[in-house]
């Protein structure tokens, strides 16, 4: 009996249009309320499945800037802190995640991401 295989993107919940090798864009429906996308330091990007394709593209472009910041070692995060060092000449700043408003455009890394995406 013949059967049709589902494409792997459908099986794993990957957004094929924006995914790249090493940077899979994973559709999620359990992100926090109001959150459109997240960049993880393992190179993955979580995007809300409720968004339109156009909005996903915009969100992925933004999150890719964060991935680039992570890859160059300027930005890093742990369970309870975010570390930012703009360049080799600027001081390293450590923010407590419990005290900060995550994703706020006033942060330097966010400002950079909004300008570049």
């Amino acid at each position: 009996m013949a059967f049709k295989l589902k494409p792997h993107s459908e099986v794993f919940g990957i957004h094929e249009k924006t995914s790249q090798f090493g940077t899979p864009v994973i559709l999620k429906d359990d992100l926090e309320e109001g959150v459109e996308a997240e960049a993880n330091r393992d190179g993955t990007i979580f995007v809300s499945s409720k968004l339109s394709d156009k909005k996903i593209e915009k969100a992925v472009a933004h999150e890719k800037v964060h991935l680039d910041q992570l890859a160059t070692g300027r930005l890093q995060y742990t369970e309870d802190s975010v570390t930012w060092k703009r360049d080799t000449k600027s001081p390293m700043k450590v923010y407590k995640r419990s005290e900060m408003n995550e994703g706020h455009p006033d942060f330097e890394w966010e400002d950079e991401a909004y300008k570049q995406s």
Partner: protein, 142 residues
Amino acid sequence: MAITYRGQASRLNKIESKQNASGFQEKSDPGPRQGVGGEEVSLKQAKASFQERLSSPGKKKNFYGGEAYFQDGYGGDLASPTKMNPITQKSKSSPFKINETLVAGAAVTGKKFVDAGAEVGKAFKNLKPEPKAADLTDNKNN
């Protein structure tokens, strides 16, 4: 004793002949290390001392004797990737998120948003008008 150019040249030749006993294309034994920091390092000894160190999983010491501190608490056996904790398991939620309430403004997206201006305005709606104050600009009473 003054060193003449010829004397210096012959000395350099001697040094060079010792250093390059075999031509650069021929294979040769590595020979003793020269220059700064040429002390013998025992890898076995270094490994043994590395094993002896009792540090928390969050802190791993490197081979140079200093402490390499992994902020993400990279724990477990660094030598075997199967026993190692993956990074994503340590911190599951990312702080780098597009939060539409922050970008578009809470008034557009938030359900629980309260327009403070409007709320305050309501309180003033039924307020009686203030009594008119006497006009003292001109000297009408005089």
